[in-house]
């Protein structure tokens, strides 16, 4: 499943970059994230409870940030396993200057497996879009009113 898009953020690139790398901000904005513990360099262990409507799943997984080219781009790799199945994905995130201040482009592939993939296909694309939208709604708020880490 492809997940891609662009999001405009009202803050300079350096600030956006720092916030994307900040585990405290990520924990607040990753939908359903209950814990995000550092596990080495640019690597985190995560507990996430995500759901759509009545369908809720608890996932344990990891998030790794690689190919870091500050403050332009990085690659995000994540994988999670839970009661409803497993999820694996990579996304390339690129920042560029724009009229609004910073333009964030994400371009990724997500593979979903297990029960939710076998019986919930029609929901997956929508779920992915919703989760990404939820992340950016939160991240947008964080960018506008930065709180100290």
């Amino acid at each position: 499943m492809r997940v891609e898009g662009t999001h405009e953020l009202p803050a300079p690139r350096e600030q956006v970059w720092s916030m994307l790398m900040d585990p405290v901000v990520l924990k607040r904005c990753l939908p359903g994230c209950e814990s995000l513990e550092p596990e080495g360099d640019n690597s985190y262990k995560a507990q996430i409870k995500i759901g759509l409507a009545a369908v809720k799943g608890a996932y344990t997984g990891s998030v790794r940030i690689t190919d870091i080219d500050r403050p332009n781009s990085f690659t995000l790799a994540m994988e999670g396993k839970g009661s409803t199945g497993f999820v694996r994905g990579t996304a390339r995130v690129a920042l560029a200057d724009s009229a609004a201040a910073t333009s964030l482009r994400y371009d990724g592939d997500v593979a979903v497996g297990g029960l939710i993939a076998a019986v919930g296909q029609r929901m997956l694309q929508g779920m992915a879009s919703t989760l990404v939208a939820t992340f950016f709604q939160c991240f947008d708020r964080e960018v506008r009113t930065p709180r100290t880490s």
Partner: protein, 305 residues
């Protein structure tokens, strides 16, 4: 086949019907030959503590092979019954006995007769026995046919493909099948209907889909489309009866007729409809989007030609 002292019939068969209806057709064979009533016949299958051996029901063979075994079992039962009848009626020998359903009488002497039920009772109470005979009335027969039987038929599908959406609209579906002598027309019709439904299901709707990671994505009936009655056209069915020489009843099989005829009929009909776009083959299932893409590619091709 085991006859009870009161003349009831138990058929123990190695075929294992799961909807094909041999409980009915084998009962009909027994009633036709032995002159008993359907309520007096029991067909037992699938119980390994009672049925010695069976390999199941498939390949359009259960009635043609298993039914013939029943028929030949009845031959043996009637042979023994005639011996008892001759003894009870004081005839010279079993060759003097004529069978008319459940009535066993001495040829030429209409008033000298007995019944199958009386013969059964006599065989078990065994007060006297015909020379060389044992008590009881039962027989076991294994039948091995000398050849396959060759049911055949013709199915015609007439459809219209919606040029804007790729949806298929039914016009007619005609099926003429030949399964030799027909024991029960309702069972044959049912087999043909079911087979057509299954074949059309394969051709038009059913598909197991895996993604590029080997993940099954049609994991429930919400995504795997089994045909429903409302999807199907009105079936116009009819029969010819060309008996086989491979068994005494002249019966062939019909279990596969519906599936074999329907799948190519519908696919060929759609290929025929889309022939103007140069189509010679389409992989099943013929989902509307697949046909829509063919039509659009075809139209684009023709526009530039």
């Amino acid at each position: 086949m085991r006859i009870s002292p009161t003349g009831k019939v138990t058929i123990l068969t190695g075929v294992s019907p799961h909807g094909q209806g041999q409980e009915t057709s084998f009962t009909q064979i027994a009633c036709h030959r032995l002159g008993v009533k359907p309520d007096d016949v029991v067909v037992t299958h699938g119980d390994t503590s009672v049925v010695q051996y069976g390999i199941g029901t498939f390949g359009s063979r259960a009635t043609a092979v298993g039914g013939t075994a029943v028929w030949m079992c009845i031959d043996a039962i009637q042979e023994k019954a005639k011996k008892f009848a001759a003894m009870m009626l004081k005839a010279r020998g079993p060759e003097q006995i004529a069978i008319d359903g459940a009535i066993y009488r001495v040829k030429g002497k209409a008033k000298l007769s007995t019944t199958f039920q009386a013969i059964a009772l006599a065989a078990y109470t065994a007060k006297t026995l015909p020379k060389g005979e044992t008590p009881g009335l039962e027989a076991t027969h294994f039948f091995e046919p000398t050849n396959f039987t060759f049911p055949f038929g013709t199915h015609v599908a007439v459809v219209e493909v919606d040029g804007e959406t790729g949806e298929i609209q039914w016009r007619r579906y005609i099926a003429i099948d030949d399964c030799g002598k027909v024991i029960n027309p309702l069972l044959v019709d049912g087999q043909v209907h079911g087979g057509i439904a299954q074949g059309l299901g394969q051709a038009l709707w059913e598909e197991v889909v895996y993604d590029e990671n080997g993940q099954l994505v049609t994991g429930s009936l919400m995504d795997y489309a089994v045909p429903k009655a409302g999807f199907l056209p009105r079936f116009e069915t009819d029969r010819t009866e060309t008996p086989t020489t491979v068994n005494p009843m002249g019966i062939k099989g019909v279990g596969e007729a519906g599936t074999i005829g329907s799948t190519p009929a519908i696919v060929n009909a759609v290929v025929d409809a889309l022939a103007p776009f140069g189509v010679k083959h389409i992989d099943m299932p013929l989902r509307p989007e697949k046909l829509w893409r063919i039509i659009h590619a075809g139209r684009a091709g023709r526009a530039t030609a």
